[in-house]
């Protein structure tokens, strides 16, 4: 008898202006990853090394927007994913990278590449392949519609698991006391 295989949901993940800490925390769901891969199949993600995002059910974004490439990738994810999740403080409110927002970009680049001690003959990188930095770092909901937010720096593996399993079972995701953290 033929076994009908349940169609798996497609999930893509990426890290924009983040530190990959949220992806590390995602791996902290530990052995529950085995349960997860029964339910989902990964598309573009650091876990698969697929470079372009295809049609997906769920897109998970770590990090905010600090350069033009971040914006490009975010728009691609929004176009391709039915449900878009902002994972972690940087995606949710800009996080640590956004703490540069009160400083003029030229001043930052000059301090980092020209005037800091130890940078003999320093120059501001200008290779055309490098994406241009934005004047300010923005959380992703300021550019695209975001369906689900998982705050935290990083959100715990348990918080990520709770949101994913809520979503996969068709419920509105919620985090109660102890799981909801902004730090």
């Amino acid at each position: 008898m033929e076994v009908v295989e349940k169609k798996k949901l497609k999930v893509a993940t990426t890290s924009l202006a983040g530190c990959f800490g949220c992806h590390m925390s995602f791996l902290d769901i530990d052995e529950r990853l085995f349960d997860l891969v029964e339910l989902v199949e990964f598309d573009r993600s650091p876990l698969t090394d697929i470079k372009e995002v295809g049609k997906c059910d769920i897109g998970i974004i770590e990090g905010g927007l600090c350069n033009a490439e971040n914006v490009h990738v975010l728009l691609e994810f929004r176009r391709q994913c039915k449900v878009l999740i902002a994972m972690g403080a940087c995606a949710v409110n800009g996080g640590l990278p956004a703490q540069r927002n009160h400083l003029p970009l030229a001043e930052i680049l000059s301090e980092v590449y020209l005037s800091s001690p130890g940078l003999g003959n320093g120059m501001i990188p200008n290779d055309p392949e490098l994406p241009l930095p934005l004047n300010q770092v923005h959380p992703i909901h300021e550019v695209v519609k975001v369906d689900v937010f998982i705050p935290g720096c990083p959100p715990s593996g348990d918080a990520i698991w709770k949101v994913l399993t809520d979503l996969l079972s068709g419920q509105g995701p919620s985090l109660g006391h102890g799981l909801l953290h902004y730090d």
């Binding site: 956004a98 959380p139 985090l175």
Partner: protein
């Protein structure tokens, strides 16, 4: 006979002169609040404690309890409005919890958790607000100020110093220091002042005390802020 009013279907006793929030907290019923503090005259500005009294919105920290009032507080509608208010506070300032030493002891953060705030929703202002580290014992980080005026009231009414004030109006409102230089070091503020103890967020901080109590063992780690009804009566920093 004890006089009572009805709060979310529950009879709340009060003594004449008490406000709705005073009577509710005394009865162990939590109403979210930020600028209200039991030891100070109400300011009525944060609007978090807004309830419906006989169907009309009003701040429960300024409205006097009265016999037979029908008060709604813990409803989906009012909590959604409170969540929006908190979201506006978050985007108006620079509230980066991961790098804030008040995290876990912060009433703004704890209130947002309690209201289930999952995102800031609005566009961020990312205002430019330099910190004042001039004082040897205290740090002032204006990025986190929510204009509750508790330090203003405490410094004026308890410490008798008027070290702090709110300047300008509307969206321009901001906390200032009462010194010609504008620097905290040039005031007679002291670490023992009530004004220093009372900040509900991470603006007025004792230097070198930030992580004496580790993250994970702080005021709102074990119990959400709504579970601190009796504990919340004295809002000392490291209790």
């Amino acid at each position: 006979m004890t006089q009572t009013f009805t709060l979310d279907g529950q009879e709340i006793p009060f003594t004449p002169g008490q406000t709705i929030i005073q009577a509710a907290l005394a009865a162990g019923v939590f109403i979210p609040h930020l600028c209200y503090h039991p030891e100070f005259k109400p300011h009525g500005s944060c609007k978090l404690c807004t309830v419906k009294v006989n169907g009309r919105h009003t701040a429960s920290c300024t409205f006097k309890a009265n016999t037979g009032l029908q008060v709604e507080s813990n409803t989906e509608e009012l909590n959604a409005e409170r969540r929006t208010l908190v979201q506006m506070l978050f985007v108006e300032g620079n509230h980066f919890c991961p790098s804030c030493e008040k995290s876990g002891n912060c009433q703004l953060q704890a209130t947002a958790y309690d209201l289930g705030m999952m995102s800031p929703h609005f566009d961020h202002f990312f205002p430019d607000r330099p910190v004042d580290a001039s004082h040897p014992e205290l740090l002032l980080d204006f990025n986190r100020c929510i204009l509750c005026s508790l330090c203003v009231r405490a410094s004026r009414d308890v410490d008798g110093k008027s070290v702090f004030a709110l300047a300008d109006r509307g969206i321009q409102s901001h906390l200032i220091v009462n010194a010609e230089s504008g620097q905290l070091a040039d005031t007679n503020v002291s670490v023992d002042d009530k004004a220093v103890q009372v900040c509900p967020v991470g603006v007025i901080l004792r230097k070198r005390q930030g992580f004496v109590v580790p993250i994970g063992e702080r005021t709102y780690d074990e119990l959400p802020i709504s579970g601190h009804v009796h504990g919340a009566v004295t809002l000392t920093e490291e209790s």
